[in-house]
């Protein structure tokens, strides 16, 4: 319990220090309310529209795969913790290692399947592909 009190204390300090720096900066810095400089940066041009647009993020399949593998790391860690002491206490190698190898193997088969289906490829938009072939021709 006491360790979580200490971690919570560091959490408080880790919020307090940035807030303190913001307070010091608020005392030091000038304020020149001029509107022209508030335009967002777009390489010196006048910005067109907002940044809240719909577009292809190009790796959503990878994001789905991430969920699978992240859950998998959660399941692997308890096994790595008990692995050695279980061996020391005389549990057979096939009993402790076999199921986990089968589990990792199943996931690797899944990864290979996703790989062959192009899920971990960088998705190119049809427009970019067309331009590329035009340029190569």
């Amino acid at each position: 319990m006491s360790e979580w009190i200490a971690i919570g204390a560091l959490g408080l300090v880790a919020v307090g220090i940035p807030l303190g720096m913001m307070a010091v900066s608020a005392l030091l810095r000038p304020s020149v309310p001029e509107q022209g400089k508030r335009a967002t940066y777009e390489s010196g041009e006048v910005p067109t529209g907002t940044a809240r647009v719909q577009f292809n993020i190009q790796y959503y399949m990878v994001a789905l795969l991430f969920v699978v593998f992240d859950v998998e790391t959660v399941l692997i860690l308890p096994w790595t913790v008990i692995y050695r002491s279980a061996l020391d206490q005389g549990v057979g190698l096939t009993t402790i290692l076999g199921p986990m190898l089968a589990f990792i193997g199943a996931l690797v088969v899944g990864l290979v399947w996703a790989w062959r289906n192009g899920a971990v490829e960088w998705v190119k938009s049809p427009l970019a592909n067309r331009r590329k072939t035009e340029r190569n021709a």
């Binding site: 360790e3 560091l10 919020v15 940035p18 030091l28 790796y59 692997i76 960088w122």
Partner: protein, 353 residues
């Protein structure tokens, strides 16, 4: 079962003992003071690393001189730069998403500092030692990518948006190799507790001509160490994997629209993050604060600065990979290699033990 080699007094208990406090009050006061000490140790190191060492190291690599005007070796430039940066005007761009825009720069240093709660720094500078220490350190350091996404979405800037999305892509591609490689060390240690991981590495591996080589996991499993360091570079977003910022492609990524104290906070967070990455690597693979002759804290500082020097070396020496190459390296290279490493480690440990 493995028993602790030595009972270590943690920093909050020691402070509470010095102040003559006990019970919950002692835990809270000791915890707060200990946290304050650790945070300030990191702030001092970041202050040296950011405005001074980074310039000096890059200058040395590119055959320049860099800061040398104010104070010995130009060291007083740290104070000058701190005042200069904090006294800049804070320009809030049009159309920003206010809570997210302001919270992002707070989250980044928060997450990096929180991770240091479980890192044993030697000489009893160790704030907390929960049984889940290693997992906690990874969890705390991943909060930062949430801050990066908030900055990317909140800024109302297309470059920031791309930078924020790239930050998620890098996090999801390299988080799994990082954790799975760490799991291959846990196969050796059988525990996630940081003090125990360090204690096991003090045991001798072998003796050559009277010199005892300790059982550091970088020596026991150098392949895992290389994998971990590479995945760590991507996790902290440094070259050759600094695609979230990529100054020549997307200006400055998620931090394009930040000025004044917010800029300082983002940079502070990134440097503490590099140190946290180095600290986790040192604890897992390099025996934590262990080392001959010098006190533990000095060795710990040397190790995390060695990792910092490595990131700056890579920054000067290696070109940045493209975003699609970056994801390919993560998903097709690192992920497969880290699983091979875990399976082989488990088999070798099982056959030998």
């Amino acid at each position: 079962m493995v028993t602790p080699l030595q009972s270590q007094v943690l920093l909050p208990e020691r402070i509470a003992g010095l102040l003559g406090l006990s019970g919950t009050i002692g835990q809270i006061v000791g915890g707060l003071l200990g946290a304050f000490i650790i945070a300030n140790l990191l702030l001092v190191q970041t202050a040296v690393a950011g405005p001074w060492a980074k310039r000096k190291i890059t200058a040395a690599f590119t055959d320049r001189i860099a800061v040398n005007r104010v104070g010995p070796f130009g060291l007083v430039v740290i104070v000058a730069d701190a005042v200069r940066l904090l006294s800049k005007e804070l320009v809030i761009p049009e159309g920003v998403d206010r809570p997210a825009y302001d919270l992002g720069p707070l989250l980044v240093p928060f997450s990096a500092l929180l991770g240091f709660a479980v890192i044993p720094m030697g000489n009893g500078i160790h704030l907390a030692d929960p049984e889940t220490g290693l997992v906690f350190a990874f969890a705390a350091s991943s909060i930062a990518s949430l801050g990066l996404v908030m900055m990317g979405y909140g800024s109302n800037n297309k470059y920031s948006l791309l930078g924020g999305l790239r930050a998620i892509a890098s996090n999801i591609a390299y988080e799994i190799p990082l954790v799975v490689t760490a799991a291959s060390v846990v196969v050796f240690t059988g525990t996630l507790q940081m003090s125990e991981i360090v204690a096991q590495q003090t045991q001798p591996l072998l003796s050559i001509a009277g010199v005892t080589i300790p059982q550091w996991f970088a020596i026991v499993n150098p392949f895992a160490f290389v994998l971990f360091v590479v995945a760590n570079l991507a996790e902290v977003g440094r070259n050759p994997f600094d695609v979230p910022e990529a100054p020549t492609e997307i200006v400055a990524g998620f931090q394009t629209e930040y000025s004044s104290v917010y800029f300082v906070l983002i940079y502070l967070g990134e440097f503490i993050h590099i140190f946290l990455g180095g600290a986790i690597a040192a604890t897992l693979f390099l025996g934590g604060p262990a080392g001959p002759f010098l006190p533990g804290f000095v060795w710990f500082t040397i190790k995390i600065w060695a990792f910092y020097l490595f990131t700056q070396w890579a920054r000067s020496a290696i070109p940045r990979v493209r975003i699609d190459q970056f994801l390919d390296i993560g998903w097709k290279g690192m992920l497969v290699l880290s699983f091979a490493n875990l399976a082989l480690t488990a088999i070798i440990v099982g056959v030998i033990a």
